[in-house]
């Protein structure tokens, strides 16, 4: 029967598809899924290798969430992440809009602006220390030109809870990333709808907010999702450039993990799970909000 033969072939194709998916499934399930399960279990008191097994036990979360400094840390974490994401978004959009226009030496500039993407965060942090610190290049330059009498009078940018150094490093690194994403979307959108709007009498502001922005929104959503998720969990910039206690949540977690009392690692794991929860809730609501908007304008 020809039908039976077709079915057998179909089954072979399906099995082959699963075989091809195996490597990535293994990585996802074992490394990511396994770590996640183990992390959550640890935060709930399951760590027999430390001689601790009170599973399930919410006391680590209770201790953490009952402490006022946890909320201060959370506030700082969110503040650095949100401000840096917004600034990167604004600068990235401006950069992408500039890049779709023609100007002299554009080819060179298209390589230059991507440079921070290839340089590691730690190098960016080192640059921030060299440039922005008291005694750094900027302060010495200001003192040299006579704006201030002594480099020490330079306003404190690094190691404050305002976090300008942390935000500067994030923005420096992430603006090109946002620009790259939105530039690609802009190329796909093309100039024609903007031109049509101009001919219909729209001014520059109306064209941007009513025609360009809604069309690049998918690029905005995906790039801000990625950088926000990074910023909320990033450790090295707030650790080196931050203002000390109270630290951001990832630094708090690191301090627990690094403590001589290794049972505090369970407390650290509760911190990490808290970060994941907060990030998850924010990112999920962000996406849900965007999906609602898309449905409202008829996109499915």
């Amino acid at each position: 029967m020809p039908e039976t033969k077709e079915l057998a072939r179909h089954r072979r194709e399906r099995i082959w598809m699963w075989i091809q998916l195996m490597p990535v499934m293994t990585v996802l399930v074992v490394l990511f899924g396994g770590a996640l399960v183990l992390g959550v279990a640890q935060s709930l008191g399951f760590a027999p290798w430390f001689g601790v097994n009170t599973f399930p036990d919410f006391s680590y979360f209770a201790a953490l969430w009952g402490d006022v400094f946890f909320w201060k840390s959370l506030g700082l974490t969110l503040y650095y992440a949100i401000v840096a994401t917004l600034l990167s978004l604004v600068f990235g959009i401006l950069l992408a809009l500039a890049l779709v226009r023609t100007f002299p030496s554009k080819t060179l500039y298209k390589y230059l602006y991507k440079l921070p993407l290839m340089i590691p965060y730690t190098v960016g942090i080192a640059l921030a220390v060299i440039m922005l610190g008291n005694g750094g290049m900027l302060s010495r330059l200001m003192a040299f030109t006579g704006f201030i009498d002594d480099p020490s009078q330079f306003p404190q940018i690094l190691k404050t809870h305002m976090g300008w150094g942390i935000i500067a490093v994030y923005v420096w690194k992430q603006t090109p990333f946002v620009a790259l994403t939105i530039y690609a979307v802009l190329l796909g959108v093309g100039r024609e709808t903007e031109e049509a709007a101009a001919i219909l009498g729209a001014n520059k502001r109306q064209i941007f907010f009513q025609v360009t922005l809604p069309q690049i929104l998918p690029g905005i959503i995906s790039s801000t999702l990625i950088i926000f998720a990074f910023n909320i969990g990033a450790f090295e910039a707030p650790f080196i450039l931050g203002g000390g206690f109270p630290d951001t949540l990832p630094v708090v977690a690191w301090r627990y993990f690094n403590d001589a009392d290794y049972t505090l690692q369970l407390q650290g794991m509760a911190t990490v799970v808290s970060i994941a929860l907060v990030a998850g809730v924010i990112l999920y609501s962000y996406l849900a909000f965007y999906r609602r908007y898309e449905r409202r304008i008829g996109r499915n």
Partner: protein, 347 residues
């Protein structure tokens, strides 16, 4: 109702000259096609009239008034793009209302004009759809409505029929022609397709390499092109070398009598296939008789093209398919003197 004039318009992009020097006079209410091969500068010309490109030199005048320095937003023109450029995130009615909304027209007035214009383009039932849910013809009608609702003084279209299939093409051609005549709006469109230019335009401006090559009515352009390049571009197939002496043109296949005297010398002789009569019996009492033999036949439904060999040259004859003449059949061709066109290089 606006007359459009281009005076010595030139456009350079860096070292590349897109338009060398164009003078063009478009009368109020006229439908003009800018025709030329791709890269000839016709789209650049249209974009300069719209205000999307600034000319490097020259003047663009609307009703005698220089608008070269007027910004695109203030020029009050309309443009229908080749791929329509509809706003994908807006419904049909929001697309159509856009031009009035950004001008700050009050809502009652917008609603009234929206209803009117949607009736004109017959899209009332589609007002809440998104562009992605429309067919090509419907998208084009939305683009036209979006433009017309702002009462533009000049309407511009980029390849208006190029993206449509054959059936829709005829429908849109009639629609655009009828609308243009009813509103009497000066309309300029760009095309690389001579058929599209001839079927739609009152006058056709042929542009080659950034220069205006000929500006004439479609039938004049078709029957009396002023250069070999234009004849070629307008799809002429029967072009032969000939020497002119008085009212006689002598080609390889024989001598033909002309209606008017043209300067003596070497020239190109152009015959339109449908202007030649094909006879199966010998003819003696008419001017310009050529004897030949059919060597090939192509059937196009309504028409048949015969290749007729006459004294070593092949002449294409187009006939309505009321009969089928067999290959190898000896035939006699007659050509009316007024349908012979002589192209001579300008001195």
């Amino acid at each position: 109702m606006t007359a459009v004039q281009l005076k010595g318009v030139r456009k350079d992009f860096g070292n590349f000259t897109a338009i060398s020097n164009i003078d063009l006079d478009i009368k109020s209410g006229e439908l003009v096609a800018l025709l030329g091969p791709s890269g000839c500068g016709k789209t650049t010309t249209l974009r300069m009239i719209a205000g999307l490109e600034v000319p490097s030199a020259g003047q663009i005048c609307f009703d005698g008034e220089d608008v070269s320095e007027v910004a695109v937003q203030k020029r009050n023109v309309g443009m229908v793009f080749q791929r329509y450029a509809l706003f994908p995130h807006m419904t049909v009615e929001k697309n159509v209302m856009f031009g009035l909304k950004v001008r700050g027209i009050d809502k009652a007035d917008i609603d009234k004009r929206l209803t009117e214009i949607l009736d004109v383009v017959q899209l009332q039932d589609f007002r809440h759809r998104f562009p992605a849910q429309l067919s090509g013809g419907q998208m084009q009608r939305v683009a036209i409505a979006r433009t017309l609702i702002t009462n533009p003084s000049v309407l511009m279209m980029d390849e208006p029929l190029a993206n449509l299939d054959t059936k829709l093409r005829g429908e849109m051609r009639r629609f655009i022609r009828e609308l243009q005549q009813r509103l009497g709006i000066t309309t300029i469109f760009v095309t690389h397709d001579q058929i599209e230019a001839m079927e739609l335009a009152d006058r056709v401006a042929v542009i080659f390499d950034g220069n205006l090559a000929q500006y004439d009515a479609p039938d004049a352009l078709y029957k009396r092109p002023n250069s070999i390049e234009i004849a070629d571009f307008m799809g002429a197939t029967n072009v032969f070398e000939a020497s002119i002496s008085g009212k006689t043109a002598t080609a390889v296949f024989g001598a033909l009598t002309l209606q008017d005297t043209v300067p003596d010398g070497q020239a190109q002789l152009m015959l339109r296939g449908e202007a030649i009569d094909l006879h199966l019996d010998e003819i003696t009492d008419e001017p310009n008789i050529l004897q030949g033999k059919i060597t090939a036949r192509e059937f196009f439904g309504a028409n048949i093209t015969y290749s007729v060999e006459c004294g070593g040259e092949t002449i294409q004859v187009i006939e309505q398919s009321r009969r089928m003449v067999e290959i190898d059949q000896p035939v006699w061709l007659t050509i009316p003197p007024e349908r012979i066109w002589i192209i001579q290089d300008n001195p």
